[in-house]
């Protein structure tokens, strides 16, 4: 048996155990995405990076311990690094949560909430299946252009999203969202008028309005 020390918490494990498993045993959470027990440990997402005593960053899901060792597993620095890695991953994910079958139960959405990554819309946590989206019933919901992180509180409670968490800043998501508003017969001016209630003095609202104008202009 070897002794692993994670943020000062000691845990005894078999030699060859990964840091991620050791952490699980110690009751410590390390964010992870790509690893699948017995199927994949290619360490490609790099969300689970931890730091050795010599300052090296290693993926917890693949790094095995064979001797007594110490790691920093949660720190502001690590969180920042994980956040950047996650943002890079997300950058080529086509975000269209409102159409997604996994919405309401999405690992990417919960990770982005945990790491403080913006850009995923409220729809990602919305409990309604895509075909029951309020927009399809003609009810204006700002979920598509609002940053997630609230567990879609209002929709879960039976209401609509009013955008209280602030606008999404990712351009491609906004473009797709405004196109969908138009497809479903909503006037973009109405959407922006509604959004004004919460976002009137939010700087990102200006950018959002520009994107909206372009989407409208492109159609002409």
């Amino acid at each position: 048996m070897v002794n692993v020390k994670l943020d000062g918490v000691e845990v005894e494990v078999e030699p060859g155990t990964t840091v991620l498993e050791a952490a699980k045993k110690a009751g410590i959470e390390i964010p992870h995405l790509c690893t699948l027990k017995d199927l994949y440990n290619g360490a490609s997402c790099r969300l689970c990076l931890v730091k050795t005593t010599r300052g090296k960053l290693v993926p917890a899901c693949a790094y095995q311990v064979y001797r007594d060792e110490e790691f920093t597993v949660n720190s502001l620095e690590l969180k920042r690094i994980r956040k950047v890695n996650f943002e890079l991953l997300l950058s080529f994910h086509k975000i269209e949560c409102w159409k997604c079958e996994r919405k309401g139960d999405c690992l990417l959405a919960s990770l982005s909430q945990e790491l403080g990554v913006e850009g995923i819309p409220v729809c990602s946590q919305c409990p309604l299946p895509p075909e029951e989206c309020l927009l399809t019933k003609g009810i204006l919901c700002l979920g598509m252009i609002t940053s997630s992180g609230c567990d879609a509180e209002c929709i879960t409670s039976g209401g609509q999203c009013w955008g209280c968490r602030g606008p999404i800043t990712r351009r491609d998501v906004l473009e797709r969202a405004f196109k969908r508003y138009e497809e479903l017969g909503f006037n973009i001016d109405d959407v922006l008028f509604r959004a004004e209630i919460f976002w009137n003095s939010v700087p990102a609202f200006e950018k959002l309005k520009k994107v909206a104008a372009e989407v409208r202009g492109g159609k002409k």
Binding site: K137, S157, G158, G159, Q160, W162, F193
Partner: protein, 429 residues
């Protein structure tokens, strides 16, 4: 009366939401108490102008984070009236339950915040140390109230599922039955807690009498009222919605950011103390028993806190009944609905609601589908002048046997204000 001179200010009153100051100055000839709301005006009535009417209840609910439900529901009712929409019967009942739950929750918390004044403790923290059982019991009742609310409306603060022409949360029959049962349990527990409270609750300024005992409540046409189209004043006058403006006089006051109100040129009050008196014929046996246990003296303004407790008992019983009746009516569930609305409607709507702190008025005009005018009168505004007049009388009462000690007067004036349960963000809306 013996001669005296007193002058002091209080800049902060603990356990009161918002910013205010109290200024007291005078002698045996004349003494003035000034209650100045320093909270900045927030212009809710102005910024809803030109908006889509269905957005208004959600905006108005933001007037207050403590009693958002009453602003939301009152505004919803007024907007629906202005739009000429008749909501479904069941959803009206749901609104009633939601509204009542808020009164229950608010009253419990306010009792907890004010009870230190009546038990010789400095604040709620000290009270919790001296009477840990009572403290944790009230906290537990509060949590359970919120749990019930969640089943009815979802989120408690700024409830998203209630709105004009709209009800958003499916509510199943078994849920209604459960709510009714839980409310009956709550009522029983509140009743037994009243015995313990009666033992520790010492009246403040016993024998002091409210010099202007006129009040304003909702007219009760059909049971304990949470909403109504008429106001009732203590002199028996019933005022229909469209006449409220002529009856309640609003004054602009130079030292306060809030308006004050008068009825027939005199101040009046509103709140639980007023309601228990006005609806004495509607009170349940259990409520009457609690009123007797706590020995509530309606002439003393401090007793409003006790009245809040007794009203909590009343509300649980009324709501348990409403929920049970609704459960018996509903086959399977109350479904969400969105009613059609005309985009270009024109109309006027006024609604009165029972807020935890008193009577609330929302008044709107819509022109061509856009908001044109809004007026809101909150309970704190109604009470504001009444607090001052009572403060002045109280100082005279305290000074009847000579120069009062400033350090003794200060806390009792603060306690008087607290007893009205004022909410300053509401006052400046």
């Amino acid at each position: 009366m013996k001669s005296f001179y007193i002058e002091f200010g209080i800049e902060e009153v603990p356990a009161v939401a918002g910013r205010l100051d109290i200024y007291v100055k005078g002698d045996e000839v004349s003494v003035k108490v000034r209650f100045g709301v320093l909270q900045d005006p927030r212009f809710f009535e102005k910024f809803v102008k030109k908006r889509d009417p269905i957005e208004v209840p959600y905006m108005m609910s933001r007037i207050c984070g403590v009693c958002s439900v009453v602003h939301l529901t009152c505004s919803t009712m007024a907007i629906e009236k202005a739009m000429g929409i008749k909501p479904e019967e069941n959803s009206l009942k749901i609104r009633e339950i939601a509204k009542g739950m808020e009164i229950l929750q608010n009253n419990l918390i306010h009792v907890l915040m004010s009870i230190p004044d009546f038990t010789g403790t400095k604040n709620a923290l000290e009270f919790s140390k001296k009477y840990p059982n009572i403290f944790s019991k009230i906290m537990e009742l509060n949590t359970r109230t919120l749990d019930v609310y969640r089943r009815i409306g979802g989120r408690f603060i700024h409830t998203p599922s209630i709105g004009a022409a709209f009800h958003g949360k499916p509510i199943y029959r078994y849920e209604l039955e459960g709510i009714s049962r839980e409310l009956s349990n709550l009522s029983e527990e509140l009743h037994s807690l009243a015995y313990e409270l009666a033992e520790i609750w010492k009246p403040l300024a016993p024998g002091f009498k409210d010099p202007v005992p006129s009040y304003c409540v909702l007219q009760a046409d059909d049971g304990y009222p949470f909403f109504s189209e008429k106001l009732l004043f203590s002199d028996g006058q019933v005022v229909p919605a469209e006449k409220y403006y002529e009856t309640i006089e609003e004054l602009k006051i130079e030292y306060s950011n809030a308006h004050y109100t008068l009825y027939k040129g005199k101040p009046f009050y509103t709140g639980s103390r007023a309601r228990l008196q006005a609806y004495s014929h509607l009170l349940t046996d259990r409520t009457r028993e609690v009123i007797k246990l706590l020995k509530i003296d309606y002439d003393n303004p401090f007793e409003n806190v006790k009245a809040q407790y007794a009203e909590a008992v009343q509300v649980t019983e009324v709501l348990a009944q409403v929920a049970a009746e609704l459960a018996a009516k509903v086959k399977h569930s109350i479904k969400p609905f969105y009613l059609e609305r005309r985009k270009d409607c024109t109309g006027e709507g006024i609604a009165f609601a029972t807020a935890p702190r008193g009577t609330l008025i929302h008044h709107y005009r819509i022109r061509n589908g856009k908001m044109d005018y809004a007026n809101v009168i909150t309970p704190t505004v109604m009470n504001a002048r009444h607090v001052e007049v009572n403060g002045e009388a109280l100082i005279r009462w305290l000074a009847s046997s000579g120069q009062p000690d400033e350090e003794e007067v200060k806390p009792i004036i603060a306690a008087l204000l607290r007893a009205y349960d004022p909410c300053l963000p509401c006052a400046v809306h």
